[in-house]
């Protein structure tokens, strides 16, 4: 029953349907962890949405100087995309050994992304764009920093998934963890693509 039809219910009426408790209040029909993740993504989404609002608002002022494009960022973007694809592939696997390979390579690409982002910071700093130089570069450090912390948090979750996989947890538990990781990865990829586009191509 959809949310809208549920809240049209009249719980005070003693009609048949309400006499007997529904056999299940089966809420959303998915694991608690999935619901929790989606709620968390709403929070993170709200966070980055507000960052993007602030970015767009601040951009309208006269002192705005856009950052130059950096080739390295394309490489980093590719790393994050590869990481996302790998985890998506891992998600459909049934074979524990292959899952291990998928997790390791997904983690590897994500680490490569983070290291690449740090190198990008270094390159911008060498070019004289510091956090205090102008609002565009301040935003670059701020947003890549917050995004990177979220990727780092994802890596912690991925590490726990690895521990489950190597630790011989049941396959369905491992698969649940992998699918949670992959959803989170896709989400962070989306956030990065939006900001990459916003900062350099709009």
């Amino acid at each position: 029953m959809s949310f809208l039809s549920q809240i049209r219910g009249k719980p005070w009426l003693p009609d048949d349907k309400n006499q007997h408790p529904a056999p299940s209040t089966k809420a959303l029909g998915v694991a608690d962890e999935k619901v929790g993740l989606w709620v968390f993504l709403a929070v993170v989404g709200s966070l980055f949405l507000i960052f993007s609002n602030a970015y767009v608002e601040r951009r309208e002022y006269d002192d705005w100087r856009a950052l130059p494009e950096l080739g390295l960022l394309w490489f980093n973007t590719a790393m994050l995309i590869l990481s996302s694809i790998t985890l998506q592939w891992t998600r459909i696997l049934e074979n524990r050994e292959r899952i291990k390979i998928g997790l390791l390579s997904g983690g590897f690409f994500a680490c490569a992304f983070l290291i690449g982002q740090l190198c990008a910071w270094q390159q911008f700093a060498d070019m004289g764009y510091l956090a205090s130089t102008n609002p565009a570069s301040s935003f670059f450090y701020l947003i890549t920093g917050v995004h990177g912390l979220h990727v780092l948090g994802g890596l912690v979750a991925l590490l726990r998934t690895c521990l489950k996989t190597w630790g011989g947890f049941a396959l369905n538990q491992v698969q649940l963890s992998v699918s949670l990781c992959s959803v989170y990865w896709h989400f962070l990829l989306l956030v990065w693509l939006v900001f990459f586009g916003l900062m350099f191509f709009s």
């Binding site: 719980p11 209040t25 929790g36 709620v39 929070v43 966070l47 507000i50 602030a54 205090s132 701020l142």
Partner: protein, 588 residues
């Protein structure tokens, strides 16, 4: 396997040692008590700060330790503590934790470990905030709205350590609130017991649920604002800081927009008002219904109003910024949305009042506080209609009229529900009743005191006394009589402040000496009163989860043996026969 059956079969991690049972507990009831006691403790700090503020306003210059800097620090910390660390934490972390699993018939929150982390992060945020009293320069004195540029400029009290600690503390609080909020939302969505449809949930759960949704979506704005302020302060960026001369020299900042911060802040700040108001709305509905022995009037409308208020609360924020210089059409839009949000709110007030009508009212302490809530909330809400209009707001902005308005509507009113809720659920949480005589003293002094304190402030506002001023006597436009009124308000405020200690004493004394409570002392219908033990044990329900057959408001049902039918009571004979719908219960 159904969701409820799944929850029923989950292993319960029974705590084995003192530490895991009472300190690092993952039991929602213990966490609720931890949240509540911490919030009350930090709230007492906020109370003392308000007393110090009133001392300066009532008897200016009489106390040598209050200088302008410390006065601003009292204001700032009082506001921040009361709104965020007391009310938000108590409603969501305290009542939310205690009530949600018990009321929806769950064993616990769905992520107990995250729930425990939530409390410890909250405690850490409180400690970091309190630490700012002890750093050189003291806590921030920038006002709880933290407006740049002055918030991080030299010359503002606490511009060095104080503001840093406050921003870090807020970030920690947001992390704590997010971890808690994930639990509250997911538990309501996933862990309801057999038969607990959404529309059978008590309004307390609805209010806390919606407030949590608001918190999850609005706190990120404060997070963004705090992080960007820290960047401006430490990395030298200019998100919010314009080109500015400070202490005789030009700062490196250039081009930033203070108004941008105001938008970000109030995009959090206005939903925040409803983060503390919606749980109060929900809880007071349940208190009124139970103590008036009557079903809540217009349950479905109440649910819809909660949802509507939650949605609308995101598009009214700029009514806090009418004086910041905005496009008149922008102001017109926000004035309109502000007046529209008054409609679902007014519906709720009517429904509370109509719940009392023809009820079998029992003037217990929770009931007294609930009625007091309707009174102060209505008065404060009506002045909100004044302030929501741009033309009326402009002259009244930043006067004591505003102070009176928001203290009535979102300070005192939710606090009355906190008190009412604590008197109501204390027996379930501890197994003992709170002392009634002390409760009456507490209630009457606080209730009358509220009007004595805040009613005169409206008049101060009308004659133009500005808020936030350290001293009023040097201004020609402020008549001398204002000082007399201020002195009177201060005396009342000090009395009300001291009486709160009676409440705190009552909490402690009754825990050891209070009358033993039966398992359902108020004869209420909701599930938390139907637990096999009082206080409820770990896991709440014994081996089997309760089964819900009816909504939460079957009071004074015709034909029932007692004047109430708990939610887990099977349908009576005549209810079953009456399967054509409508009929007996619809008229109760």
């Amino acid at each position: 396997m159904t969701q409820a059956a799944y929850q029923e079969d989950l292993p319960l991690h029974e705590p084995h040692s003192f530490w895991t049972k009472y300190v690092f507990s993952q039991d929602h009831k213990i966490i609720a008590i931890q949240y509540t006691t911490t919030a009350i403790a930090v709230g007492l700090v906020g109370l003392v700060l308000s007393g110090l503020m009133r001392l300066q306003l009532g008897f200016p210059g009489s106390f040598s330790f209050i200088d302008p800097a410390s006065y601003y620090q009292y204001i700032t910390m009082h506001g921040m503590i009361m709104i965020v660390y007391l009310l938000t934490a108590l409603f969501l972390g305290g009542f939310g934790n205690f009530l949600i699993p018990l009321m929806v018939g769950a064993r616990d929150m769905v992520f107990p470990f995250v729930n425990m982390l939530s409390y410890w992060a909250y405690l850490l945020s409180v400690l970091v905030l309190m630490a700012s009293f002890f750093v050189p320069g003291g806590p921030s004195g920038a006002g709880w709205t933290l407006y740049p540029p002055q918030v991080i400029l030299q010359g503002t009290p606490g511009a060095d350590g104080g503001i840093t600690l406050m921003l870090v503390s807020l970030i920690l609080f947001i992390i704590a609130a997010t971890m808690g909020g994930l639990n509250y939302v997911t538990t309501v969505l996933q862990a309801r017991t057999y038969g607990m449809t959404l529309m059978r949930m008590p309004l307390s759960v609805w209010g806390i649920f919606m407030a949590t949704v608001l918190a999850l979506l609005a706190f990120p704005a404060l997070f963004v604002g705090a992080v960007m302020l820290l960047f401006d302060k430490f990395a030298g960026s200019s998100f919010f800081m314009p080109a500015i001369f400070s202490m005789g020299k030009q700062l490196a900042h250039e081009g930033g927009s203070p108004v941008l911060f105001q938008h970000i802040f109030w995009f959090f700040g206005h939903p925040e008002v409803y983060i503390v108001a919606l749980p109060a709305f929900g809880i007071v509905s349940d208190l009124l219904s139970a103590h008036a022995r009557k079903n809540i009037f217009g349950y479905r409308m109440m649910v819809w109003a909660i949802l509507a208020i939650g949605g609308l609360s995101f598009i009214v924020w700029a009514h806090h910024m009418y004086v910041s210089g905005m496009n008149p059409y922008f102001g017109f839009f926000f004035a309109t949305t502000t007046l529209i949000i008054a409609v679902p709110t007014a519906i709720k007030v009517y429904n509370w009042t109509l719940t009392l009508w023809h009820g079998n009212i029992r003037l217990t302490i929770p009931m007294l506080f609930s009625i007091a809530f309707i009174s102060t909330f209505t008065i404060g809400g009506l002045t909100g209609l004044f302030l929501g209009n741009v033309v009326i707001d402009l002259p009244l902005s930043d006067t004591y009229f505003v102070v009176a308005h928001f203290h009535m509507v979102m300070g005192v009113a939710p606090l009355f529900v906190v008190f009412g809720g604590i008197y109501h659920w204390y027996p379930k949480a501890t197994g003992r009743m709170l002392n009634d005589t002390l409760g009456h003293i507490h209630f009457w002094v606080t209730f009358i005191g509220t009007y004595v304190i805040y009613f005169p402030m409206h008049y101060l506002g009308f004659i133009g006394v500005p808020r936030r001023y350290f001293a009023d006597e040097a201004y020609k436009f402020i008549p001398e009589s204002a000082q007399g009124l201020n002195e009177f308000i201060t005396e009342a405020a000090l009395i009300v402040g001291v009486v709160q200690l009676i409440f705190v004493f009552n909490l402690g004394w009754s825990y050891f000496r209070g009358k033993r409570a039966e398992s359902n002392p108020w004869h209420a219908t909701t599930l938390e009163w139907q637990t096999p033990q009082t206080p409820a044990e770990h896991g709440n329900w014994g081996p089997k989860l309760p089964v819900v057959y009816r909504w939460a408001y079957d009071y004074s049902v015709p034909g029932a043996a007692e004047d109430y039918l708990p939610q887990n009571v099977k349908p009576l004979g005549d209810e079953v026969d009456n399967d054509s719908g409508g009929g007996v219960l619809a008229e109760t």
